[in-house]
Each structure stands twice: as structure tokens, then as C-alpha cells.
Subunit: 194 residues, 4 copies
């Protein structure tokens, strides 16, 4: 039941936004009563917090599994992008709620979540830095800004990408990886993208 409430809430938060979704909406959407909601959650905010925590913790775990892999930094970057994008099919709504509604958490919970989110970003930055050190990437990159660029690109796809549309998630991941690695300029002798 708690699961059911959470799923229904994610779906509603995604469609209408957190503050526009009422407890009544949530209760109605699963055929229960408001009382039931409060039996499982202390408050609306606590529900949001749980949604955020579950999301980022799972994402971090999977990301760190990739980072700890022994492949090249190019491959790591590809894998991280692919993970984010192919996650849209299963976790798109949860992701969108995560990106959009953090503001509605209490100060303290915002801090907790932001720390994890920063860790996620710093892991990407660290792939870039390792790649520079290993001679895989250009020497004078601002690894922090590149990390932000990758995140912006990938996160934004949650707002428009249709995983069941014409382009497959893995295709989009390939396109984005290629863009980040090799850019878009046509050059003589440019090797095929990966």
C-alpha cells in the first residue's frame, strides 16, 4: 500500500507538480482515503523526501558501480550517460519529480539531497579528470564545467525524450556520447564516432 501510494504520487507530482497535487488527489487515485495516506506518511513532505532519497541513492549506487569498473574513461562516460537516459523508460517520472520538486523539501532535507546530488556530479567530474590525466581527454578542459554540461544535456532529455519513440535510448546515449567526445565539426581525418 505504501508502495502504491508512492507510485501514484510520483505520477501525480509529475503531471501537476507537488504543491498542486493534493492528498485528496493521491487518495482518490488509489481508491483510498486521506486517513490511509497519513497512516503511511507523516506528511506530504515526508513522502517527497522518500521519493528523492530512493531515487538518488539508487542512481548513485549504479553510477558508482560504473565508476569502479576497470574500463577506459571514455567508456565510463558513455556508460554513465547511457544509464541516465535508459533510465527514463522506467524512472522518467521519478526523475522529473526529482529534478523539479526538490524546492519543496524542508531546508534540512534539501541539504541532505543536495549532498548526494553533488556527489553524483563530482563522480562525473572525476571521470573527466582521470581521462585528462590518462591522456584520453584534452589537457586544458575545465572538468567541472564539462561535468555540468554532461548533466545538463542528460537531465534535459528527461523533459523531451520519448523512450518509446523513433529513437532508442541507447541510440540517444550514443549520439550524446559522440557529441561530448568528438563534437559536431566535420574535419578531415575525423575518425568515425566510437
Amino acid at each position: 500500500m505504501k508502495e502504491k501510494i508512492t507510485e501514484a504520487s510520483i505520477s501525480l507530482f509529475e503531471q501537476k507538480g507537488f504543491s498542486t497535487t493534493t492528498i485528496q488527489d493521491i487518495a482518490d487515485s488509489i481508491g483510498a482515503t486521506k486517513g490511509t495516506f497519513y497512516y503511511y506518511f507523516k506528511s506530504k513532505e515526508q513522502l517527497l523526501k522518500e521519493i528523492h532519497l530512493e531515487y538518488i541513492i539508487d542512481l548513485l549506487k549504479r553510477q558508482e558501480a560504473i565508476v569502479n569498473d576497470s574500463t577506459s574513461n571514455k567508456e565510463k562516460l558513455h556508460a554513465v550517460i547511457e544509464m541516465l537516459i535508459s533510465d527514463i523508460r522506467k524512472n522518467g517520472p521519478r526523475g522529473r519529480v526529482f529534478f523539479r520538486e526538490i524546492r519543496h523539501l524542508a531546508e534540512e532535507n534539501i541539504r541532505i539531497i543536495k549532498k548526494e546530488r553533488d556527489r553524483y556530479r563530482l563522480n562525473i567530474e572525476s571521470i573527466i579528470r582521470s581521462g585528462i590525466a590518462a591522456g584520453e581527454f584534452k589537457p586544458n578542459l575545465r572538468s567541472d564545467m564539462v561535468a555540468f554540461a554532461v548533466l545538463g544535456m542528460a537531465n534535459y532529455s528527461y523533459n523531451w525524450f520519448q523512450p518509446d519513440g523513433e529513437v532508442e535510448p541507447s541510440e540517444l546515449a550514443a549520439i550524446y556520447t559522440s557529441l561530448v567526445l568528438g563534437g559536431i565539426v566535420k574535419e578531415n581525418g575525423t575518425p568515425e564516432n566510437h
Copy 2:
């Protein structure tokens, strides 16, 4: 006074979000009363609509000036990115409200704004397409996905970039343009980007 209300509202919407900001908050923040607000605006939503319209119309106008320039597509892309990022200093808050709060407009207004926003995106897509046709960019690019990538990257900077920090807006624009044009991979014989 209408101007004053708008500015105060943008600042509050940015900090607390549209639905969490009350008319009372707005009135308080300019030392007026709620009645005054309703003298200048029909409703809270109408204010939000005006904020959105002013923002996107201005942005579009400036973007289309760039697109109609006779420079190369590389340069157009650079100019578009630079415009977005250097706008953060002056219009950061307005931009953030634009990106985040569109959901709170009425259906019909959402449609109106989305049309303009799409036009903005399609203009970028069209730069990519022209560049491909002109042989400036790689031939097999998905211009739509590239446009989304550029937008994601640039828009996301509204969430973290400090225009008065260590990196100048034009620097960040250069870094991002370079990334999009030439990627991050170090290659023999790769010419310096721009």
C-alpha cells in the same frame, strides 16, 4: 508600480516557487496591499503569463537577430550560446522562473508559450541543419537531438553558474561552444577549437 510588482514577484517566484508565493508575500515585499496587486493584474496567473511572454519574446527577438546574421553557422551557434549565458547576469531569476514555473499557467497559455519556446529550439536546430548542408558540421548528425543537447547544457547553467564568480560568462560560452564543436577527446592533429 506594475514594473515594481513584476520585479518583486520574479524574485519571490525564484526563491519560493510560484505556488508557494502568496499575493500577500508580493504585496509585503513592495510595501503595498493585496488590493493594489489586483488593481494592476487580473490574477496571479496573468502575472506569471506576462513574465513568461516578456521573457521568451525578448529572447526570440535577440536570437533571430543572430540567426539572420550573415556569419558562419559555427559563429551563429557560438553567439546563441553566448547570448543565453551572458543573459544570466541580468535575467537569471526571470530565466529560472521561465524554466520552472510554466506548469502553473493555464492550459491555453502553456500552449502559447510552448509554441514560442519550440520556435526558439527549432531556430537552433536550423543552425545545425544549415551547418550540415554547408559542410561545416558532420553529415550524419541528428540536428534535433543536437539542438536539445545545446539547450540542455545552456539552460542547466541557469541553475549553477555564478556570473560574478571566477569564470566569466563569455568564458563559459567559449568552453561550451568548444565542447559542442570539437568534443573533449584529445586527438593527433586536432586543431585548436575556435
Copy 3:
């Protein structure tokens, strides 16, 4: 267990008041669940009723034992005051709940309790009346008002008297009896207060 619930409830009702204390509070305070509460009590009000009844019935029984004693009316009055005050140590919380929360009983139960409470008061009044008739007390006293005065004095002590403080209950009872019997004015030839 019923006993345990009652004791815990008295303590909570005393601290937080009847309507502010929840069944959950009661259950928590004895490490049980709300279901358990309802196994032993039909409702929150029934619990309050039992608390009231037990209290007043016991008090009445003890009071009437005193009244039926063959001692003087002065002594009876002293004994009644002493009983009330020395009861604070053991039954202070119950007494405070009794005095404060009667309003939350159902009409009918209020009537029942008030009848007993009145009987308690009328017994005091009757001591005064007997004392007047016996020439122990002043002839023109309003025995009803004197009874109210004694009750007010004694009951109020439930709100401030610390039985484990500097003054012993029997001392306070002596002070109050002396006050009621002989007043506070210094007079020539006034005998020492008992």
C-alpha cells in the same frame, strides 16, 4: 492492564488535558496499541467517566465515615479538610483531572457525577449546620457559603500544594482548619489555635 491504562491516562490527562490527549498518546505511554485500548474501554469518554466515578465514590465513602463519627463538628471539619489535603500525595493527579475535566463527560454522566459531588458538598454544609445547632459555630452563618469556601480553599490546594515540599499535608490541614475556625485577626484573649 486496564489499571495500567487508567493510571497512564490520568497522568496524561493531568499534564495535557483530556481533549489534547490522544488514544495514541495513551497507547504509546504503556507500550501498547490503540486496539488494546478499545479492548478495555468502549470509548475515551467511558474511561474518563470511570476515573471520575472511582474518585468521587471513594472520597464520599471516606467522607461519610468521618461524618458518622461521634466526634465534635470542629473535629469533623478538621478531619474532612485533612482527608482532602493528605489525599494530594496519592491522588493529586486524579483529583486534578476530576476537578478540571468533568466538562468532557456526556450530559448524562455529568449529571451523575455532579449529584455525587453535590452530596460531598452538602455533607460539609451539614457539618456546619450541626455545629451551629450545637452552639459550636456562630449562629448566623450561611452554612452553604461556608461549605463552598471550605471546598474552594481545599480544592485549590490541588493546584499549588507540594506534599513533598517544606510543609506537610497535616500541617496545611491544621493551618486551614485554624483559619476557618478562628480567622486571622489578632484579638485579646483569642485562644491559641487548637
Copy 4:
């Protein structure tokens, strides 16, 4: 209107108790809406606080006027008792709310009110002490306990005394003063009280 709300609330709080009285009850009883209530009061508790403060501040002011009079301590005591009792006609309900509902204030407000209430009591104690020093009262009295006794007696009258009944307020005040000053015991040579 604020006045109207306050009066209506006092009457309801007296009849049903603070926590059992709803904002809806209050609004209904003056033919207004809940919104109106919240236009004038921040919360239910703030209303209660204002009721408490107004009551005790007014009472203290009047009491201290009496205490600063140049009359004898006997007369002061009489005047204080008379003031309390004759106040029942006009302020009975407010007084009952004051005595019963303090618990529902927030910790901090309880502290504020209790300080004033204590001052009221200490003023009575101080009359007793002065009377002892002046040789008006018996030398070995516990002035603190006597003050509590007077307060208990007088306050309790708020619970039963009908100012429009057979006994006049000033009569009751005389009876109580006489009781406190001279007691109830019939003695040879005891002069008439007052």
C-alpha cells in the same frame, strides 16, 4: 468586529471549553465566516492569549490600586475579595475561561501569564504580611498559605456563585471577609466581625 469575535469566543469557551470550541462555532455565532476570524487573529491560540492578557492586566491594575490605598490591611483584604466577587457579574465568563484554559496556551505564553498571576497572589500575600507586621493579624500566620486560601475561596465562587441570585456579590464578599478575619467559631466576647 474583533471585539465581537472575542466576546463570542469567551462565551463559547466558557460553555464548551477551548479545545471543544471550533473556529466554525465562533464564526457561526456571530454570523461571519472562518476567513473573517483569521483576518483578525493569527490563530486560535492567539485569541486565547489576548483573552488571558486583557483579563489579568485589568485585574492587576485594579488590585494594585487597592493595595496602594492608605486604608487598613483588613480593609484592603475586604476590598480585594469584593473586587473579585463583584467582578463575576461582568467578567464571570472571562474569569472562568482564565482559570480553566491557561493550559492551552503555548509554553511561552503560559510563562508570561503565570508571572502576572503570581504577582496577583503575591500582592495578597503582602497584605497579609503587612497586617501581621502592623499587629492587625495573628503573628504566626503563614502568609503564603493564607493567600492561597483566600484565592481558592474567591476563585471557586466563579464556579457556583450566581450574582443575580438571592445573595448579592457584596454580601458574599462580606461573608467571606468575615470568615477569613474572624473564623466561624462562636466564642464568648468575640466582637461582631467587621
